[in-house]
Amino acid sequence: MSGHGSAQKGLATRAVQALALAVSFGVLFALSHFTADVESRLGAMTAIGFLVLAGTLLSELLEPLGLPHLSGYLLAGIIGGPHVLHLVPHEVVKQLTPVNTLALALIALAGGVELRVETLRSVAKSLAYASLIQTVLVLIGMGGMFLLLARYIPFAQNLELRPLLGVALLWGALCVTRSPSACMGILSQTRAKGPLATFSLGFIMLSDVVVVMMIATAIMLARPLITPGASISIDDFNVLGHEILGSVSMGTTLGLMLAMYLRLVGGQLILVLLALGFGVTAALKYVHVDPLLTFLATGFVVQNLSNQGPKLLHAVEQMGSVVFVLFFATAGAELDVPLLKQLWPIALALCAGRSFFTYIAANLSSRLAGDHPVVRKWGWSSLVSQAGLALGLGVVVKNSFPSVGDGFGSLVIAAVAINEMVGPVLFKMALDRTGETDTGAPVARPSLPPPPEPAH
């Protein structure tokens, strides 16, 4: 992901970028129309090339409008994807799934490296209040809103009260999820430093753990409401406990090994990260350990138990400059545009409701915690984005409750699509407004420092 703070680019540069963008679309358009019957062995590779190039160029062209690069990547994927120009077919988008694995590993690693103990300590009170109030208020508020709007939601119209309560509970729980990837993407682009950046990163990374536990709880409570004859099973918690403890212990071990490698060898980090992203992720899934949490712990250990954090962060950012473009462009290509067209009014209403409750909760928790004025005013802005985590948990819910799963899954996709597009724009706008965006020359960014004391 390219850094912020590049020199102002002239008209000639923009013209070249527009031309290159047109060429990349043109090449793929010509290929898909004139060689439609030719089976390509390199369909996925061509798509990667196109998405990386088009994503990079579109993000640059949208920069003067103040939009984050991430929006450009998403837009490139949406336009080139299977639902608009069909330059990247659906099956090729599916083949690109391994990129998500790698990108999520990098995002979690970078997130962990950013979490320094002293930083966390400095915002511990804020995080505690925010976690509690955001979770409770958004869960109850959005569950209630779902109940109120149920008559307009196609799959919920004919549900009886009991299952409807269960589905509303699940919807409320899903609304608490945030997007670590969007947060890291924006911070990586803007190289922002300050109270808002520190709070957002700390909250979103920690909320990952809270959300996973909450979804498990919600599924456990919703099961007897939705499925006749089912009862509450605490087995889910048993599995969850193993997963979280396993993730932390694996992450700690990996972190110590990585720190040792960085200290003693230190070279070829791109290959090491590839091996972690693909190989270690596969191994972790094999032993039923959560890769996201594991890599978060890995990065945290490297940062806080060694002095190798900056080196790891620099390597992740270097690799992320390509991988993140592809990750978000693929996410754009995966967006189900026809479904969004169909469900947008209700999805938009639910998204607006979520933003509203998030804003109220952020305001309330900031006041109680005595946060920096910047956080009090803009803390909500980073919490609107939703992406892969919400979609993943949506699939878990869908599989757990086949009777309402399809409709529920579709609504999740439509709502996440809106939040995915709007959230990053809001967060970048907030960072720009608060002056936390780094407008200087691009340099390797150190991990986020503790925020300054609020000026009373």
Partner: protein, 416 residues
């Protein structure tokens, strides 16, 4: 965990080892210049010996191999005009291209003549196998020259001539394959004449290279540049393959265009370290692809091609010994027998358009040429340099840094 993941990890490990062989000290310390040991390892792991790397598993990685071959062509193209800190000498480069072209022609002619009798190749497959083997006979690996020169601290006109000629000879294989792919029936551009298809191959690569060069613009920044280079590179490889054009031809054209851009040194410094990490996994998989279940006549055809290649190089060496390689006899010709990863890449690229027995035969020829070159060429070059009095001419203090990239750019993280 699936076999694919294990293989991927193995290839990453190999790439890791390869990336450690980029340094000057390492290249003199261990490893063969042609990478033959990885070919042999691949063959040993492949279906003919241990069957750890079965045919279907190896073919799962075919897209990676094809992109790898294209990437190698890009690296070769970007570095084509410069050897270490200096420009390539045009005269010596012309001789290098001529050497490659003559070897290509001789082998292609011989194979074309005997192919109907040895293997029963007729029609297009006869022409294809001739041109394919010709392409694989043309290049001299610059790594072999560099290996000998650095290992023995050689310096002088002959060392420079060998380095320039080897680098220049790499142009012949991609051009030959561009012609061959244009001649092949089918493909996505049936209404375009052959010359047009060749022009599209080279023009497409050059065009996207130009766009990449323009995008890298005034403020060259490494992080953004990777996106541009990877994006344009993969788009070129994928589009060329889909259209039935030579991806090697398109990518070398892209590389040559970038080599003419204002940021050529920075781009070369970025791409050069990626060569070995790409080369070794590709070489290993090529070893696994080798098929020995071929008719005896095909082995005879491969043997004929090898003999013609050796004879041609000997004759060319003798001819050069009265010119730039004065006093070296046939040894200089033998030293130019060295072939390596790029030859293997040409054989793999050939298989994308001409599958079947012809493809197996060309890959076998490339592998045999590489192993034979490893056996004969470095020693012959050392003898040539010794006769020319150019061995041990470099101060040992200068022998620590990699020679394939300008010293001032090696390891630099960003440029702005």
């Amino acid at each position: 965990m699936s076999d694919g993941i294990w293989l991927l990890l193995g290839l990453l490990l190999l790439a890791y080892l390869g990336s450690n062989l980029v340094g000057g000290r390492a290249i003199r310390g261990f490893g063969l210049p042609s990478g033959s040991e990885y070919l042999v390892l691949g063959f040993a792991l492949g279906p003919h010996v241990l069957d750890v790397l079965g045919r279907s598993l190896a073919h799962t990685f075919e897209p990676v191999v094809l992109v790898g071959t294209g990437w190698l062509a890009l690296v070769v193209g970007v570095g084509y005009t410069r050897v270490a800190d200096r420009w390539i000498n045009p005269g010596r480069a012309a001789v290098g291209v001529l050497l490659g072209a003559l070897s290509c022609l001789a082998v292609a002619a011989a194979v074309y003549l005997v192919a109907p009798q040895l293997g029963g190749f007729q029609g297009f497959s006869r022409l294809a196998i001739a041109l394919g083997m010709g392409a694989c006979a043309s290049a001299t690996t610059r790594h072999s020259v560099r290996w000998v020169v650095e290992r023995h601290g050689a310096r002088g006109p002959l060392a420079d001539f060998a380095a320039d000629a080897a680098r220049a000879s790499a142009l012949v294989a991609p051009l030959t394959l561009a012609v061959l792919f244009a001649l092949a029936p089918g493909g996505a551009l049936p209404s375009v004449p052959v010359l047009g298809r060749i022009a599209i191959t080279l023009g497409f690569g050059a065009g996207l290279g130009l766009i990449a060069a323009l995008l890298l613009g005034r403020d060259f920044r490494r992080d953004e540049s990777w996106g541009v280079l990877l994006g344009t590179g993969l788009l070129t490889v994928g589009a060329a393959d889909r259209a039935g054009l030579s991806l090697l031809g398109a990518m070398i054209a892209m590389g040559l265009t970038l080599a003419a851009s204002r940021h050529r040194l920075e781009i070369k410094a970025m791409l050069t370290p990626t060569e070995k990490p790409v080369l070794l996994p590709v070489t290993l998989l090529a070893g696994a692809y080798v098929n020995l279940k071929l008719p005896t006549s095909v082995f005879l055809l491969v043997g004929t091609a090898v003999l013609v290649k050796v004879a041609t190089r000997l004759l060319l060496g003798l001819a050069l010994s009265v010119g730039p390689a004065r006093g070296t006899g046939a040894d200089f010709g033998l030293s130019m027998l060295a072939s390596g990863g790029f030859t293997i890449a040409a054989a793999l690229a050939f298989s994308t358009r001409v599958p079947g027995v012809a493809s197996d035969a060309v890959l076998l020829f490339a592998v045999v040429s590489t192993i034979l070159g490893e056996w004969l060429a470095p020693a012959a070059l050392r003898r040539s340099l010794e006769r020319a009095g150019e061995l041990h001419a470099v101060d040992p203090a200068e022998m620590g840094r990699p020679s394939d990239a300008p010293a001032e750019l090696v390891g630099r993280e960003s440029h702005g």
